[in-house]
């Protein structure tokens, strides 16, 4: 797996554990279905991997206790995760959002615009599409017609804001 954010490749601070007995004191990622047990096990930081067909509201009770939510993209063309990320941000989620699955570089700016911070892609994809291609994809379209999508300073500039200022 290759994990990267807008600055490039990064190590994954979270580990999967055999049993939750190993969780205390560690940064642990587990399936969202086990979130209650995970939180009860007392990890240093908790992260979940969630399917993309859950309701954003399902996450609401846990948002301030999860350091990371990874949303699975079963395929590159299944765009549900983009809307789910958007809704989680709207619910006030402040932790890290990770898109996990076989996305390709041209989708990286879209993922960031919808509220993701990072993507995690399978090794086979990373072999074809090294980090440089992912970073290059961020700078191809520097404008957007939508207003509050780009998060942070590096996203495309909103045409609407530019026009409003001129």
């Amino acid at each position: 797996m290759l994990l990267l954010d807008r600055n490039g490749a990064k190590p994954d601070p979270f580990i999967a554990v055999e049993t939750l007995d190993d969780a205390p004191g560690k940064n642990v990622i587990d399936a969202f279905a086990s979130v209650d047990a995970l939180l009860a096990a007392g990890p240093a930081q908790a992260a979940v991997l969630a399917p993309n067909d859950l309701d954003a509201e399902d996450f609401a009770p846990y948002l301030d206790r999860l350091a990371l939510i990874a949303i699975r993209f079963p395929s590159a063309t299944d765009g549900r995760g983009f809307s789910l990320a958007r809704q989680l941000r709207r619910l006030g989620y402040k932790g890290v959002l990770r898109a996990s699955g076989p996305l390709f570089p041209d989708q990286f700016p879209q993922a960031l615009a919808c509220g993701f911070d990072e993507v995690e892609i399978p090794d086979a994809n990373a072999a074809r599409q090294p980090v440089a291609q992912w970073l290059a994809a961020l700078n191809r379209v520097t404008l957007s017609y939508q207003r509050d999508y780009a998060r942070g300073a590096t996203g495309p500039a909103s045409i609407l804001d530019r026009r409003a200022r001129s």
Partner: protein, 555 residues
Amino acid sequence: MYAYDELDRQIVRERVAQFASQVERRLDGSLTEEEFRPLRLKNGVYLQLHAYMLRVAIPYGGLSSRQLRQLALIAEKYDRGYGHFTTRTNIQFNWPKLREIPAILGLLADVDMHAIQTSGNCIRNTTTDCFAGAAFDEIEDPRPTAEWIRQWSTLHPEFDWLGRKFKIAVTATQQDRAVLRGHDVGVRIVRNAAGETGYRLYVGGGLGRTPMEGKLVRDFLPRAELLGYLEAILRVYNLEGRRDNKFKARIKILVHEIGLEAFRAQVEAEYSKVVAAAPAPDLREFERITASFDAPDFADLPEVSRKLEQAQAADPDLAQFVARNLFRHKKKGYVALTISLKSIGGAPGDATAEQMRAVADLAEQFSFDQVRVSYKQNLVLPHVRRDDVPEIFAVLKAQGLATPNVDLITDIICCPGLDYCALATARSIPLAQTLSRHFADPDKQKEIGELSIKISGCINACAHHHIANIGILGLEKSGGESYQITIGGDPGDQYALGELLGPGLPASAVPEAIDRVIGVYLDARRQGETFIETYRRLGVTPFKAAFKEIADAVA
């Protein structure tokens, strides 16, 4: 025309460069064919039966002379000298080479055009009334609303990977000339009791293998709220629409399966959250767009044109053209003039480069530089002085573009079918040509009156055959082509899907079958009744009986 600003231009340029990089990365193996496919589709590039096809967006059907000339140039340089106008008011070039496509996109960008989102599972080209801005009966010009939607939906980061394609139409008239209820979302510009202009929204219409009628989802939406509400609809669709079966992935299936009430409740719930999270919507951008449409400087003219009347008296061909191809303009002394791309025996919707240039010249000289493409695959000069009609007619005649058949039986809507399309199950163009010749006699056409024939080469229904007065669907049956005929469809206010007359027929039997159907109408019609009106009064039964004789004979 909406005038691009530098930002509109820059985003199109950047998109062209992005696509060039995608082509390169496909060629060097970085992108697999599976990954590249949706990227090329979202840039209008299809792989057809014989070649690549490029579908160029013509937003809400509006073209300037300069743009049309550029299309002519592309047709000459990169195609075989012609282009095909579609029911989505786009134009398709059938023979470009993949490596030339970035260059073509560059030529388009030079004239503020693009091929963005003309295919793929994203929000497609927004369409409207081909007489927008000219029609006598509109509440306002619907094009600023359509442009507002175009910008909002262009390169939308959240709605680029939907379950299926998504089509929006806008109209501002009582009489629906934009097939509102055949769209994923239909936007009708209305005035409420307080005199405010806003939108009435229909959702879940569509044709294809499961044709459905769009349903009223919001009776009145204040203008400023349009994009927020569309965002809510798209988000609900993106999250809830089916992903397990491509044939059940359109929003119409979602609305149908969960029911309109449940769908509306979900949209309204999502919308209330959109409203709560976003700053109050304002109309600044809408107003900027509206101001960017240059308003034609119409002259004050008399209602009637002596010049035209005299010319008509001297030339029966012109008189016939005037009777069929003119539409009432909101401004006295002007008309909207339809240029039929349905010459007798021609391929519906095709125009040669030379014809495109001739139309561009006419638009420049006589129609404030404007041309429109209609979903019926014709062109329109929206703002023509009555006085100028004889001169325009003469030019059109010389170009083979003066066919006086608007909304008559030879004004056939027809998809590319098996002559080009990779999805086709039968040819459609040759049958359209046969029928056009079969009904060529102008007196016969006049006698039959308004009647629409639409021919699709497969169940995808690109030619809207379900909502034709006479719809023809080409299928493949035991190795041969078989054509199913439906009648009674209506694309407008009395939206209706056609009824199947019986078993499919070979192409050779179709003209006679249609003769029989028309025979029933001509025998039974009352004074002034059109085909569809007689059909509504009689029902399908007598038509079926007449059809059966033909079907039995060939069975």
